[in-house]
Amino acid sequence: MSASTFRSAAVAVLLGLTPAVAAAAEEVNVYTSREPALIQPLLEVFTKETGITVNTIFIKDGLAQRVEAEGANSPADILSVVDYGNLIEFVDRGLTQPVKQEELDAAIPASLRDKDGHWFALSMRARVIYASKDRVTETALTYEDLADPKWKGKVCIRSGQHPYNTSLIAAMIAKDGPEAAKAWLEGVKANLARKAGGGDRDVARDILAGICDIGIANSYYVGLMRSGAGGEEQKTWGEAIKVIMPTFKDGAGSHVNVSGIAMAKNAPNRENALKLLDFMVSDEAQKLYAEANYEYPVKAGAPVDPIVADFGALKIDPLPLTEVAAHRKDASLLVDEVGFDN
């Protein structure tokens, strides 16, 4: 290491910037890959109620690697992410510790938390179908239907490698086996109106533009678009589509993914972190947390935003997420094999 390294380190020590030095105060440290604007309002309420300061770092890729590398000295207390795949990876890499709290177990259905308390889902989002209000007459569809040649040149979707899509494909593999899943993926690929890419919102925008008629995307984007949270222009995208809550062909229900939270293995402020966990499943927090991003709260009885309620009732596919997770890697390989994104 160069001299500058030591100088910077020395300066850091003198200024008392290191977490270890600062750890004396009542605080809790959160590493989050959920966008700050979505959790900040909630954390402010927590601080107001408990007097505990919440420090956050918004990290996207590499959150697991950072915690792993920091090891025993990691200041992280709470790991907050979207996608159950990330939560399971934390557990696999040994970055979490089990939590046994009655409040948590009572509030969160068993299928939406780790059985040993290594992670807890806080909200759900469904992978739904966006369809043109003007050009699509169907009101009920299955995921499998999108491979039907009748949609040739009419389907839009983001990259097959995106976690939201690999998760859906993994569920397909779990249900129908790899051969059927591959045939489905090839069928959807053959129906694409444009290269797979962009974001979920582009599906709505491209439907408005007439590029495609139908596509797969997440439920909450509709709330973000229609509410005007994404700007005036996005309202017109959201209004161009209707939401169809699809099921698999077995009729079981819609594919959902979650956002969730885990206690870091070496959490230095464990007591405060437990308080934060409990707070997150309180009625107030569940409402705020789900509303902020137009998601479904995990706690029964917590209200759903009217825009989201308008889609119709959410029927969750009962296949456990841990079972779907086992096929995530195969799903990703399948996307390459089929050349879905090419």
Binding site: A69, N73, A229
Partner: protein
């Protein structure tokens, strides 16, 4: 300008007697620093089983490699053509708008590629302003009746990256054309060579080192780009690395692909260097005499003006205008974001700290290359660019392991010796972030300073030495004044690049540390682009000041022609 077959005989600078000096020790430390992330990557790579490779080789690498090569070829041709073409026009001709365009051509430097891609996707979308206006013009009802090039394509990526990265070539090419010995050009003209021939056979070959350095910087940016590529659906090697890591949760596999890519890039760089090993390009340093610029009039003047306006319009004016409109909407509805000042301060402070360190380290590298007797001095120069050849995200992960190991070692020592915990000194403070920026952008500072140093004839060193000047005196009295433009230019480029940097900042920052770039990303990630527009515009605005300053330092002095 001398071009000799045997450089050692005439132009090699005087070397110090054979002893390991302070400079050598400093450069060894630099080598350690730049190799740190590679060590981190190797650490991850060797843990992988390699069972992904049959799949990668069958289904991923061929397409990704081919896409990356096409992207590089396309962007390379574009940046070289735009950069050299604009530089040649600005340096050799007088036409309306030249004095403004001379510095305005640098402005695209302030626009991050991810913001550019988003802006164009929006502006050029079928429901965006351009196509809507075109449809109204032609009386078309449906977007499908109007043919319009798809921006979400390899071609779109080449187009956009070309127009935002060309300043890396324009800047050194212009400087070189300005400094080229006028006698060579005038001799060519006197001998009846027309403008095209003079350009192709005399000016262009002489400008090759500058063009090579600039183009390779632009190509590294293009190769490592993740924001624009992902957005435009271009499946490059970098996207493959990213997918392997994020989607398949295999940091090990990702590190293996990254190392492979690093080896390929490094081989290319070495080949390019070998290609011009036997050429030496030494300017005379003086600018007192310059080939008289040619005055253009009428259609030719308009064409020259247009050729220089187009890159500025496409690479800067369109995306900036887009941001201004979006930001204005946001501000009208909600006012300025309350934390804007903090984000600006965080961006500027971290960029500034990194710039200072990067310039200091760059000086060490450049001076080692010039003076060290050690055999590895040449290797050091090439190695110093290593951080630029790896995608930013991957570099950040590569740095995590070594830095946290050091942190934990220091903590362990402090606990056992002093009985207190130091925590994570580097990764807990901003120090890790600053160091990562330095490793990332060292290629820019050392390359720029080295190029500046190369323009100072070694005969000056020899003369100073003969008169008894030591190292320090040589640097302080002779080199410093002549190097100042090069150092300033390198510093400003590093600063602007740090301001725009995203993946490293996201991964290595300390608690509660939001910068402009991370804020833009956070808003973009949840699709509230309007909220991000204000911060995005601030990145461009804060970048403008150093770029205008860059234009002033680079273009100052006797090199300004009339017009």
């Amino acid at each position: 300008m001398t071009t000799t077959a045997d450089p050692e005989a005439t132009t090699r600078p005087l070397r110090r007697p054979a002893s390991v000096g302070g400079l050598d020790i400093l450069s060894l430390l630099v080598v350690l620093l730049v190799l740190t992330p590679v060590g981190g990557l190797v650490y991850f790579a060797v843990q992988g089983s390699g069972d992904l490779w049959p799949h990668l080789l069958r289904n991923v690498i061929p397409t990704a490699l081919w896409t990356s090569l096409l992207l590089l070829a396309g962007v390379g041709v574009m940046v070289a053509a735009i950069g050299v073409g604009a530089a040649w026009l600005i340096a050799g001709y007088v036409f309306p708008g030249r004095r403004i365009l001379e510095w305005a051509l640098l402005l695209p430097l302030s626009v991050p590629t991810y913001i550019l891609a988003y802006a164009y996707l929006d502006v050029m979308h079928p429901v965006g302003p351009v196509q809507t206006a075109l449809r109204a013009l032609f009386g078309l009802d449906s977007p499908q009746d109007l043919w319009f090039p798809e921006i979400r394509s390899l071609g779109g990526a080449i187009f956009l990256l070309g127009f935002v990265l060309y300043p890396y070539v324009y800047l050194p090419a212009r400087a070189l054309f300005m400094m080229q010995s006028p006698t060579v050009i005038e001799v060519a003209r006197t001998l009846g060579s027309g403008p095209a021939r003079t350009f192709l056979t005399v000016a262009l070959p002489l400008a090759r080192p500058a063009i090579a350095v600039g183009t390779s910087l632009a190509l590294m940016e293009a190769l490592n780009d993740i924001g624009a590529s992902e957005f435009l659906g271009v499946r490059t090697l970098t996207v493959a690395i990213y997918t392997t890591w994020v989607t398949r949760s295999s940091i090990e596999g990702a590190a293996q692909i990254a190392l492979l890519m690093l080896i390929v890039v490094f081989a290319l760089v070495v080949v390019e260097r070998i290609g011009r090993r036997h050429q030496r390009f030494v300017g005379r340093g003086g600018r007192q005499h310059q080939a008289a610029p040619v005055h253009l009039a009428g259609g030719r003047a308009a064409l020259a003006c247009l050729a220089c306006v187009a890159p500025v319009a496409i690479g800067f004016m369109v995306p900036t205008a887009y941001l201004v409109v979006e930001a204005a909407r946001r501000i009208r509805a909600f006012g300025l974001p309350a934390d804007l000042g903090t984000w600006v301060a965080n961006s500027v402070t971290s960029a500034l700290a990194a710039t200072l360190v990067a310039v200091a380290v760059g000086l060490v590298v450049a001076y080692t290359a010039r003076f060290s007797r050690a055999r590895w001095s040449g290797a050091l120069v090439r190695l110093s660019g290593i951080g630029y050849t790896v995608p930013g995200t991957v570099l950040a992960v590569g740095l995590l392991i070594p830095m946290t190991s050091l942190d934990n070692a220091v903590d362990g020592a402090a606990r056992s010796l002093l009985g207190l915990s130091t925590g994570l000194l580097l990764t807990g403070s901003g120090a890790a972030l600053v160091l990562a920026y330095v490793v990332r952008f060292l290629a820019i500072s050392s390359g720029g300073i080295e190029a500046g140093l190369a323009k100072i004839s070694p005969s000056l060193d020899s003369a100073a030495r003969c008169l008894g000047a030591g190292h320090v005196r040589l640097l302080g009295r002779i080199h410093a004044p002549m190097l100042r433009p090069a150092i300033t230019a390198a510093a400003l480029l590093v600063f602007v690049d740090c301001m725009k940097e995203l993946p490293i900042t996201l991964l290595l920052r300390p608690f509660n540390f939001e910068t402009l770039a991370t804020h833009v990303y956070g808003e973009a990630a949840r699709g509230t682009y309007e909220d991000g527009a204000v911060a995005a515009l601030m990145i461009v605005i804060v970048g403008l000041a150093p770029i205008i300053l860059l234009a002033r330092t680079s273009f100052r002095g006797g090199d300004r022609g009339p017009g």
